[in-house]
């Protein structure tokens, strides 16, 4: 009997010790420690065994995912969120391999396992939820209009017969078709191409989420202006291939800590040239009122 008790005490102490040495889950920063290994066969375990996480981000969207030509590194809010996740998994914010994910290829990238996560200004909606899983909302954007400074277009109601550019495969396309059915919508491979076409005088407006447009506007403030406010709610989520609840849970934990700790506002301030709002609530359906 004594032997049994001693054994029990030993196990309890060992358990307590283990609990103490484990890193406080979700702690960010480069000094953090790696989280314990996840169960065999899970995506998270695969990521841990690989020693780095593969993340699809945009390379051409200022403030969120933009390739800096001098440093040859991608920078932006999405990239910083990816770093928080890497720090949580490995204790190292740089244990990331970036892949360029454009709107039309990011879902296939997840489905075929090219990337583990997509953090690329991707709006959560029911149609996409049929294809992939999403984390909680990490950013709330809204679709708006970028127009030349001298343009007479002031709102979504002024677009009849106007040439409006956006990206192939984006929710912006579906929204603008619904909300301005008389606009002549032209679809580009990316927003940079659409803005270049507007610069060439071929478009009257470019429409997508306001945060993307703010980036283009901030770069050339004498050329462009934002008009029309947020005429949609675009809750951004992190995309994960279907069937990996442990990874979704891990990502949600990182996001919850970001929002709670105030770090979210820091990242916002670092990347986006407007005053940070409160972090968005978690549930996208609540945001869009579905």
């Amino acid at each position: 009997m004594k032997v049994w008790r001693l054994l029990m005490v030993g196990i309890v102490i060992a358990g307590l010790l283990a609990a103490c040495t484990a890193p406080p889950a979700g702690t960010s920063g480069s000094t953090g420690k790696a989280m314990p290994k996840a169960a065999d066969g899970t995506l998270l375990r695969k990521i841990q065994d690989r020693g780095k996480i593969v993340v699809g981000v945009k390379y051409d969207v200022p403030m969120f995912g933009l390739l800096n030509p001098t440093s040859n590194k991608v920078e932006g809010f999405d990239v910083d969120v990816a770093k928080e996740i890497a720090a949580a998994i490995f204790g190292n914010p740089d244990a990331i391999e970036y892949k360029e994910a454009v709107s039309k290829n990011r879902i296939p990238f997840l489905q075929d396992g090219t990337v583990d996560l997509v953090i690329s200004t991707m709006t959560v909606n029911a149609e996409r939820e049929g294809q992939i899983d999403f984390s909680n909302v990490y950013y709330l954007a809204g679709q708006s209009l970028l127009v030349p400074k001298a343009s007479a277009i002031a709102s979504i109601n002024d677009l009849a017969g106007k040439k409006v550019g956006t990206a192939k495969g984006s929710t912006s396309e579906q929204n603008i078709r619904k909300m301005a059915p008389k606009a002549d919508v032209q679809l580009f491979d990316g927003y940079a191409e659409a803005v270049a076409a507007m610069d060439a005088g071929r478009l009257d407006a470019v429409t997508t989420d306001d945060n993307i447009l703010i980036g283009f506007q901030a770069k050339e403030p004498n050329k462009w202006k934002l008009v029309g406010g947020q005429f949609t709610k675009e809750p951004y989520g992190i995309g994960i291939a279907k069937g990996h609840p442990e990874t979704v849970e891990m990502v949600n934990k990182v996001l919850a800590d970001l929002k709670k700790s105030g770090k979210w506002k820091e990242l916002y301030k670092k990347n986006i040239p407007t005053t940070p709002p409160e972090p968005p609530i978690d549930n996208w359906r609540q945001i869009v009122g579905q």
């Binding site: 709107s103 039309k104 879902i107 296939p108 149609e127 996409r128 049929g130 294809q131 550019g165 192939k168 495969g169 984006s170 396309e173 579906q174 032209q186 679809l187 580009f188 491979d189 191409e193 270049a196 076409a197 610069d199 060439a200 005088g201 071929r202």
Partner: protein, 214 residues
């Protein structure tokens, strides 16, 4: 639920692709023939001009050529409508390849025939029209067919400058309805254009051989 609108988009795409191919095919045939003739012309500056043209357009990506017309020319005050921009880009690009085929054809005609023509008092233009070009067109049908089949496939690059052709529509459908198999369908639709073209080239080739009976 989307079948009807897909169908419509793909049909628009097919028609646009066919239109691009035909328009750019005709323009590049004429332009390329003229440049091919310049390449072997007795006038030095014309030869230099034509060689420069061919080497420039043969050695740049088509996308650059289209992007220049679409994004670049408007800055110089020249804005072609989208479809026309696609036709022009494809035409000037393909003309370089047509010119090379025509040049090779012209150079393969024996010098003796040119001498015979000169001895008969034919002018340079008459020589081209009556002696050289009729033979060249017989000869160059197979290589020209290859150039035009490449042109049909190259029209897909015009999707990048929002020409609403097959590839563009396929990308729109794939993005809007998450249906990547649409590219397979688009691939078959390209075959609808290219296979009959290949057959036509074969028939014309046989016919021109009968005509010559060499």
């Amino acid at each position: 639920m989307n079948a009807e609108s897909w169908n419509l988009l793909l049909r628009i795409g097919l028609i646009t692709t066919a239109g691009l191919s035909i328009a750019a095919g005709l323009i590049s045939l004429v332009l390329g023939t003229v440049i091919g003739i310049f390449r072997v012309s007795p006038v030095g500056p014309l030869r230099v001009l034509a060689s420069g043209y061919v080497e420039f357009f043969r050695n740049i990506p088509l996308l650059i050529c289209l992007a220049f017309i679409f994004y670049g020319l408007p800055k110089a005050g020249i804005t072609f409508p989208i479809f026309e921009a696609g036709v022009i880009g494809l035409s000037v690009y393909t003309a370089a390849f047509v010119a090379e085929v025509v040049r090779a054809g012209l150079q393969s005609i024996g010098h003796g025939q040119i001498e015979a023509g000169r001895a008969l008092g034919l002018s340079y233009i008459q020589m081209l029209r009556l002696v050289l070009l009729p033979q060249v067109f017989g000869m160059v049908i197979p290589p020209l067919g290859t150039v035009f089949i490449a042109l049909v496939k190259n029209t897909s690059v015009a999707s990048a400058i929002v020409v609403p052709e097959l590839m563009y529509q396929a990308e729109v459908i794939a993005g809007r309805y998450f249906y990547p198999n649409v590219f397979l369908i688009a691939g078959f639709m390209y075959l609808i254009i290219t296979l009959p073209l290949a057959l036509l080239v074969n028939v014309m080739e046989k016919r021109s051989q009968i005509g010559h009976r060499r």
